[in-house]
């Protein structure tokens, strides 16, 4: 007889470099549907991700890791206004929460596109960091993809970090 832990442990889904294309698709869909904005891909970003707002959603189960979205506060506020209306501009919390929800939806949309992940990978509630002066370290071995989407000339960075 299997233990409860054994029977509920989903099979691990290994990292695939092709996930970059899937993440691009997942992120573009979320921004287009929820913010009604068609972003473009920055094919060759030259710098590391920057920006004063970072939303994070943890992933656990068949895939363990984290999805983040990072952009400037100005961009986060503009996105919130697109999602919620102009009243969001006057409320910094709205910009923060909207970015968190976008990150949650990007992570959810991504895993829904990967065979075997939809039912076997859980998402955390979003966390949003305000500020630029931080570094993020993660347990090794880790693999991941980073993409840059462009909105009004500013990069919106979407990163997936996974643990084997």
């Amino acid at each position: 007889m299997k233990s409860m832990t054994q029977s509920r442990t989903p099979a691990s889904v290994p990292f695939d470099p092709n996930w970059k294309t899937i993440m691009e698709c997942a992120a573009l869909e979320v921004f287009e549907m929820m913010a009604n904005v068609r972003l473009t891909l920055n094919p060759a970003p030259t710098e590391a991700p920057t920006g004063g707002q970072t939303a994070m959603v943890g992933m656990a189960g068949a895939l363990c890791g984290m999805t983040t979205i990072r952009c400037t506060r100005t961009t986060a506020t503009k996105l919130a206004a697109l999602m919620l209306g102009e009243e969001a501009v006057s409320n910094p919390a709205s910009a923060r929460d909207a970015l968190g929800e976008l990150c949650n939806m990007v992570a959810g949309n991504f895993k829904a596109k990967i065979t075997g992940l939809a039912d076997a990978c859980m998402l955390s509630v979003p966390t949003v960091i305000a500020g630029e002066d931080y570094s993020m370290d993660t347990a090794e071995p880790a693999e991941g993809v980073t993409i840059a989407l462009v909105y009004e000339g500013e990069n919106i960075w979407v990163t997936l970090v996974t643990h084997s």
Binding site: M33, G85, G100, M105, G108, N109, A118, C121
Partner: protein, 128 residues
């Protein structure tokens, strides 16, 4: 067009606003929008006044959307009120569970106003 009272249940205030905005963008005329941040609050809102439609998240603290559905089904006053579940995760198992528990449909985030209309309009009748 029939005017509607809707109840939106989500632990994220931003998502509640997004859902309301999507309903309006879909062309629905809302006379009243009640909000709740979990299933227990939603049951209290239903006790105050039965809405024409409920849109509820599945994953919430205190009382999740599935538990809310089960409790709602025991209320005589709420019989026939259509409930649409909203989920981020694309989990087929949870969607099936929600439909078995009485949900009339579901929306998977992200969604467009057109998708909201497609899911909501058939449940309202009366020329929506």
């Amino acid at each position: 067009m029939k005017k509607l009272k809707v109840l939106i249940v989500d632990d994220s205030s931003v998502m509640r606003k997004i859902v309301e905005r999507a309903l309006r963008q879909a062309g629905l005329e809302l006379t009243e929008v009640a909000e709740a941040s979990n299933g227990a609050e939603a049951l209290a809102e239903v006790a105050k006044g039965v809405p024409d439609m409920i849109l509820s998240d599945i994953n919430m603290p205190v009382m999740d959307g599935l538990e809310f559905l089960k409790n709602l089904a025991t209320l005589e006053s709420a019989k026939g009120v259509p409930v649409i579940m909203i989920t981020t995760e694309g989990s087929e198992a949870r969607v099936v569970e929600a439909l078995s528990a009485g949900a009339k449909g579901y929306l998977r985030k992200p969604f467009s106003p057109e998708q909201v209309k497609e899911r909501v309009a058939p449940l309202l009748g009366g020329g929506q």
